[in-house]
């Protein structure tokens, strides 16, 4: 991207969590692209941004709507063509009235002029690409937030063309692939609803089983079902909910309560420690198959080393399990699995192992002559007309108060991945970021008598966690940030399990906490008077 | 006149040239460049000893440039077995001569100690600043071998009798106004060296130390049945300039000095310790009568403003017949180190000024010299805060808050004042007896001979 283009990122600390894409954004910026950063924290990209909107956590929807409103009011929308290719345009535009810049400024703590600057930036750019990650989704309003991004993209015509689009950056290796493959409670492969009889029928035919016709449970629903004794067994693989899920104390209670817990992982994670049976999975370097990248590119991978010890690739473990459950051996290798999948999934039918030898292919790819789809919604939206959804603002489920006066938001750092079960076992990564550093604004630090490097305690309605304070202006006053990488500083002890009503995604980005200093160790008696060090310059 | 060795001096072998002493010298008498050993301009020095208190350049056992410590001790007249810490700025030590006086069986020894001593000497024995120990001080002096333990405060009461009378006389005649107090030797010395054209304003009264000394060797000798030369008169003072004052030629009668030797608080404490006398564990004792009985008014001489307050208590009683424990006059701070009040005494308006710290006096003296003085009576104390802050007081360690310590010593003198049965000088029965039996009346003939003097003429140099 370059001059005339615009990159708008929201709720993504891209240089830390997606460094390769982050580097690309830095490059785009150097090439002349405009950069808009929407984030409560002064992340590295905020420094590079042409417009940085430091919003109060949880006000994404009104802020994005206000930007849309400003663009619309300034006459920067091609009304005719947008109206022609979308539905709900009129209602949407009418709904924008309640998100005027001034009242949203008061709500989001972003100056009205900055909202207008962002609007001008997007409105005038030839192309604007929107990027987001969990900063947008991990709210009780996560669905609305994503829709607000989508509304804005539709309004400005930034869809279906190069250098545009609504681009969620996936958080984990192959998280895209596993979602594509239906590792979600409500869909089968290719995002086809389990309630659709035809879709379900094709699987039932292929597998010769009956598939439940209702949606499955989201994670919070599963935990509730366990508590209500409606669910007796749980099979967890490649997940560490004892660190990654909100309100760990509650999670732990449920995992103790469930009758039978199986955990399949590379290492004995905090979750695996609670399991009745632990199945040793193989790592990415020990298995064959495909990974799908964040741009929907299905890529062939091959084992570089043999699985260590008793560990096995996930598909093999599952296949053996099926066999012992009385289902005969059906798969000889990964190709068999893949072929079955692609035959049952129209978006992947055209992707074969043979074709993948030549390089990755982006789905949808309906037949073997199809080249794949680098850009979605070209010409028109896949669903037909682009759909505007009018939105309302809803405050987060928990806000700071007198008892818990600070807002905690969580995320990741560059050195670690998720609950760090792998990265903390890596010498270099563990060395360069060995412990939790809780970002605290200097004014808050001063108020609570906390110095840089002090051990502090964070307390919420759900629990207590400790970490070392990093006194920095990266966070605004009133906000503290911590990661969920460090087992001994589990941020998710503190977070709330309140979740988005549609997706069940928990509100990990906002909860109310109180902090206090733990260490008494003398910290910073050192004075600035020592700056000269003339004593060290004795010839 | 000349004295055998300088009262206050800086040892070039120990001085590192930090010039911290120059910061506290009220008369800019410390000469030298940074990092070079300093010296004292004896023409200006008033011997207040503030430099001694401030100096932290001690003889470190690990500094190879300070080689011959025994030689330094010898030069300072310290005994060979003395182990006290040597500092660059120091005062003349008279412990040796006092010891020999005490050993002299032909003489009867009389000691006086200044008010501020009893509020500070306990510091030398590990107690907090401002711990009040008058009874233990009297006991300790007796243990040390003094035959009669008298008190400077008694003489302070006499000073009030004389000085108050002198003031009333001057107010009556209108001559030599404004009048300045003369009890502080540093201040007197300053007048002599820098304002010798204004000396007539000084009260002709000797200081309490010298009045006491003169009375020891006259009235006191009579009571003891001795000749003046058979008396060893020793003063314990919070002040280094007092050593100078005791040596002044006008402070003697027929070549017999009023005061034979002056010890500072630190010297006395050292002598006590070397004799194994633990001041703080002694039972309290009384000072000897009659020259050791004192009033609250005399006690507060040790703090700035005390002379003024004491004089006012007596002046109010004498002129109005109304006996008061406290004058009730409030002085208002008008500038740094200067407080003022206007008092109605016998139908006359007296404008009084209190100066705390010599450096603040110059401006007022300029006015006096120009005939523009807007006051009638001025108390000046050379050391900021008064004698409680004197150069002979315990030398506080660097981490101790000096101002706080001075304030505590001050407060303890006021506490002492309040606790005493007699709080005005003229009601001190020993003072009444002195006038009845010996002096007849203030400013009388005997008073004039013994208790008054003329400053300036023979003002001796420092060396």
């Amino acid at each position: 991207m370059g001059a005339g283009d615009c990159v708008c990122i929201i709720g993504t600390n891209t240089t830390a969590c997606h460094p390769v894409i982050g580097l690309g954004m830095m490059q785009a910026k150097r090439n002349g692209a405009q950069l808009i950063v929407i984030d409560p924290r002064e992340i590295d990209l905020a420094r590079e941004a042409d417009v940085w909107l430091r919003l109060r956590p949880g006000t994404d929807t009104p802020l994005l709507s206000a930007i849309a409103g400003e663009i619309y009011n300034a006459g920067m929308v091609d009304v005719e063509s947008v109206a022609a290719s979308t539905e709900g345009f009129k209602e949407f535009c009418e709904g924008l009235a309640k998100f005027d810049a001034e009242s949203v400024a008061a709500l989001s703590e972003v100056a009205a002029d900055d909202i207008r600057r962002a609007a001008r930036c997007i409105g005038r750019a030839r192309n604007t690409a929107f990027y987001y990650t969990m900063g947008v989704t991990q709210h009780t309003t996560g669905t609305n937030n994503v829709l607000a991004v989508s509304n804005l993209a539709l309004l400005t015509g930034n869809i279906g063309r190069p250098k545009t689009g609504v681009n969620p950056l996936r958080g984990q290796n192959n998280v895209q692939g596993s979602c594509d493959m239906g590792a979600l409670p409500n869909v089968l492969t290719g995002y086809r609803s389990v309630t659709n009889d035809d879709v379900r029928g094709s699987f039932e035919e292929a597998w010769n089983v009956t598939i439940p016709a209702e949606k499955g449970r989201t994670i919070p629903e599963m935990l509730n079902a366990i508590e209500e004794d409606k669910m007796k067994g749980l099979f967890v693989f490649g997940e560490n909910p004892m660190r990654s899920d909100p309100d760990i104390n509650h999670v732990e209670h449920c995992l103790h309560h469930v009758e039978f817990l199986v955990v399949q992982d590379l290492f004995l994670t905090e979750t695996a420690e609670l399991a009745d049976v632990v199945l040793p999975g193989a790592s990415f370097a020990e298995k064959d198959g495909t990974f799908t990248s964040t741009e929907r590119r299905v890529q062939r991978i091959r084992a570089a080393v043999s699985p260590v010890g008793d560990s096995k690739p996930d598909w093999k473990i599952l296949a053996e399990l099926l066999e012992r459950l009385g289902r005969p051996e059906r798969y000889a290798d990964v190709k068999d699995v893949f072929d079955e999948m692609r035959m049952l999934t129209p978006t992947h039918t055209g992707i074969t192992y043979e074709r993948l030898e030549a390089g990755g292919i982006q789905w949808p790819c309906p037949d073997e002559s199809h080249a794949g789809t680098p850009i979605l919604h070209v010409g028109n939206c896949m669903r037909g007309a682009g759909k505007f959804v009018p939105l309302e603002h809803r405050e987060p489920a928990e806000l700071p108060d007198a008892e818990y006066p600070l807002t905690l938001t969580t995320g990741r750092v560059v050195a670690h991945y998720h609950t760090a079960t792998m990265t903390r076992r890596c010498f270099g990564l563990a060395g360069t970021w060995p412990e939790e550093l809780v970002e605290v604004h200097p004014a808050d630090a001063a108020e609570y008598g906390i110095a840089d490097g002090d051990l502090i305690e964070l307390r919420s309605r759900r629990g207590v966690a400790t970490g070392r304070a990093w006194v920095t202006r990266r966070v605004p006053r009133g906000l503290v940030f911590m990661t969920f990488h460090f087992s001994e500083s589990p941020a998710n002890i503190l977070t709330t399990s309140a979740a988005d009503p549609v997706t069940g995604t928990p509100q990990l980005k906002v909860c109310a906490v109180a902090i206090r200093k733990l260490t008494e160790e003398s910290t910073s008696v050192e004075s600035l008077s020592i700056e000269e060090h003339a004593s060290c310059h004795i010839a | 006149m000349s004295v055998s060795s300088p009262i206050v001096s800086i040892d070039p072998l120990l001085c590192t040239g930090c010039r911290r002493c120059a910061e506290v010298c009220p008369v800019d008498a410390i000469v030298g460049t940074l990092h070079q050993p300093q010296s004292i301009d004896t023409e200006r020095c008033v011997m207040c000893g503030q430099c001694v208190l401030r100096c932290s350049a001690f003889a470190s056992p690990f500094d190879e440039t300070i080689s011959d410590i025994p030689a330094i001790r010898k030069e300072r007249g310290l005994p060979e077995d003395d182990s006290s810490t040597l500092f660059a700025a120091h005062f003349r030590v008279d412990k040796g001569s006092v010891s020999s006086m005490l050993e002299d069986t032909d003489k009867i020894s009389m000691v006086q100690c200044a008010p501020a001593v009893r509020s500070s000497i306990a510091e030398e024995f590990g107690l907090a600043p401002g711990t009040l120990t008058p009874g233990q001080l009297a006991a300790a002096l007796r243990r040390l071998g003094f035959d009669l333990v008298y008190d400077t405060i008694f003489a302070a009461d006499v000073t009030i009798m004389e000085e108050a009378s002198e003031l009333l006389e001057r107010l009556e005649s209108g001559e030599n106004l404004p009048m300045f107090t003369s009890c502080c030797p540093g201040w007197v010395r300053y007048m002599e060296t820098a304002w010798d054209d204004q000396l007539s304003h000084l009260s002709s009264c000797k200081s309490p130390q010298q009045m006491a000394g003169a009375l020891f060797k006259s009235y006191g000798a009579e009571i003891a049945g001795k000749q003046p030369e058979q008396i060893a008169s020793v003063a314990v003072m919070p002040c280094t300039a007092k050593k100078f004052e005791a040596g002044r030629p006008e402070m003697q009668a027929d070549s017999v000095p009023d005061v034979d030797a002056v010890l500072t608080v630190t010297e006395l404490a050292d002598m006590l310790k070397r004799k194994g006398i633990q001041l703080t564990s002694l039972q309290e004792e009384e000072f000897d009568a009659p020259l050791g009985l004192y009033s609250g008014a005399g006690t507060i001489f040790g703090a700035s403003g005390g002379v003024m307050e004491a004089a006012l208590r007596t002046a109010i009683a004498v002129t109005t017949g109304k006996e008061v424990d406290e004058s009730g006059v409030t002085f208002t701070k008008t500038e740094e180190g200067i407080s003022r009040a206007t008092i109605n005494v016998a139908g006359k308006t007296v404008r009084a000024v209190i100066v705390s710290g010599l450096a603040h006096a110059a401006k007022l003296l300029e006015d006096v010299r120009a005939g523009k003085a807007d006051f009638d009576f001025m108390e000046v104390m050379c050391c900021t805060g008064g004698c409680v802050a004197g150069g002979g007081q315990p030398k506080l360690l660097p981490h101790v808050d000096l101002q706080d310590a001075i304030q505590r010593r001050r407060e303890s003198l006021h506490v002492h004042d309040k606790a005493l049965p007699v709080r005005a000088s003229h009601r001190n029965p020993s003072v009444t007896a002195l006038y009845e039996n010996y002096l007849e009346k203030p400013l009388g003939h005997r008073s004039h001979t013994l208790l008054h003097t003329t400053y300036g003429e023979a003002a001796g140099g420092h060396e």
């Binding site: 460094p19 420094r47 010498f427 270099g428 060395g431 360069t432 | -």
Partner: protein
């Protein structure tokens, strides 16, 4: 003049690859094994990651190095292309740390024979074929060695640029 490594904060994304590469370059052990052996992680380059700036900082190989002047043991020496620590002579007095104006000196345990904290600092990966490891690894191109030639060329080219600007201005 000594060459030195300088970072460009406008490019750095704070990924810390430089720190890791630095440790790797100064360690005989394989990175995979290092963790198992619980070796110390002591980079000679420090990432500053603040709201205001993100950039690695390391030794400038000063010409009149304060660390050399401050060392009571003669363990920091200016020699050849670098300012170098003779770790065997270091007693860990930390005077060099206090003296260094950019905070480039580290006193910590390094992998190797010496088990106590010693001073160590950027040695420009002297002896490493591909030059400083941090420069090689940086994905953002934020690190660069400035050698003698650069130090001669840069001021000259800037003067030229400045002169032509002035010419245009007049």
């Amino acid at each position: 003049m000594h060459p030195f490594v300088l970072s460009d904060p406008s490019r750095c994304i704070g990924c810390r690859a430089c720190e890791i590469a630095c440790v790797d370059a100064h360690m005989d052990e394989d990175m995979v094994e290092a963790g198992n052996k619980e070796l110390p992680f002591s980079p000679r380059i420090s990432i500053v990651h603040e709201a205001e700036v993100t950039a690695p900082v390391q030794c400038r190989q000063c010409e009149e190095a304060p660390c050399v002047a401050a060392c009571p043991a003669g363990a920091v020496v200016s020699e050849g292309d670098t300012v170098r620590v003779e770790t065997e002579r270091c007693c860990g007095c930390k005077a060099c740390m206090a003296a260094c104006p950019v905070g480039a000196m580290q006193v910590a345990v390094i992998p190797g024979k010496i088990k106590t904290p010693v001073a160590h600092k950027c040695d420009l990966c002297t002896g490493r074929e591909k030059g400083p490891a941090c420069v090689e690894v940086c994905p953002a191109g934020a690190l660069r060695v400035f050698g003698r030639e650069d130090l001669q060329r840069i001021p000259v080219s800037k003067r030229r640029q400045s002169a032509s600007q002035l010419a245009g201005y007049n």
